[in-house]
Symmetry: C2
DNA sequence: ATAATTGCAAAGTCTTTGCAGTTTG
DNA sequence: CAAACTGCAAAGACTTTGCAATTAT
């Protein structure tokens, strides 16, 4: 019943000299448990506070930063609102419809051609993970 | 000496039933005058207030919205900070280095292949103008 | 005249920060 | 025990909004 993935992550924290505290344990649990990606810091806070109401939002932000530094999670800006967090192992790219907000997840390799072109033409290496690509899904296509 | 482009824009406002006021005149002037793109609402406000200190930032935001609705300007989110505004006629895409912040402007057609691929594969039409593409320029490339 | 627009102040959203007290290793 | 971490409250950056007074048409 002890979640192995939880222990793995906590082990990684300890290996890095990062202390394992009750808030961190709860936050990592929430991330692993919620599972299905796209959680905001606020979502995580709410979930954690269900069990541990004393854990403050600022701690959640700080912990998410720490986890990102360690490569456990990363965050994406989907649109104008709050950033969403993912487990790093679930890495993928995001297409967001500017009208209806639907999020389409796509594998990274879809961008290879573009990345090659940008690198050759402009000496620029895109990092398409960190910001979603805005646009329109077919049903919201203007006109 | 009367700026023809200014009068053109103001004419467009009137045609749309939008009133031409002193703040709007000053804001459009600032956009046309500053010229070289990438201005934030705050930049515009500062410039306008040089001549007309009574014009309030909220008016600038409202006017920029109006101008965007009319297709005179559009705004882009370069990174985490404030949005930047462009004259619509200067439309182009933006690559932003996450390390040094340099902004590289590229023609839209660089994205055609990607756009076709996304449309065929995911029924999604990217609108690459509204958010910059984050990444790293060669001199900031990690590792 | 009258509907649009403005200035102002206040609020709103998301996130960060300073600090004193608490906890981990 | 020392260094790391936390809760709290406050601030910070950017933008939006409600409203009464003003202004363009």
């Amino acid at each position: 019943m002890t979640d192995q993935r939880l222990e793995d992550v906590l082990g990684r924290l300890r290996d890095e000299g990062v202390r394992v505290t009750l808030p961190r344990r709860a936050i990592v649990s929430a991330l692993l448990g919620g599972g299905h990606g796209h959680v905001t810091a606020e979502n995580v806070t709410a979930e954690v506070q269900g069990e541990h109401p004393e854990v403050h939002a600022s701690t959640v932000y700080r912990t998410l930063d720490t986890l990102e530094r360690l490569g456990v999670v990363y965050h994406v800006h989907l649109a104008h609102g709050a950033a969403v967090y993912h487990l790093a192992e679930d890495a993928h790219l995001h297409l967001v419809c500017a009208s209806c907000g639907v999020v389409i997840e796509v594998p990274e390799d879809v961008f290879h051609t573009l990345a090659d072109g940008l690198h050759q033409g402009f000496r620029f290496t895109p990092e398409v993970r960190h910001f979603a690509l805005s646009g329109h899904c077919d049903r919201c296509l203007p006109r």
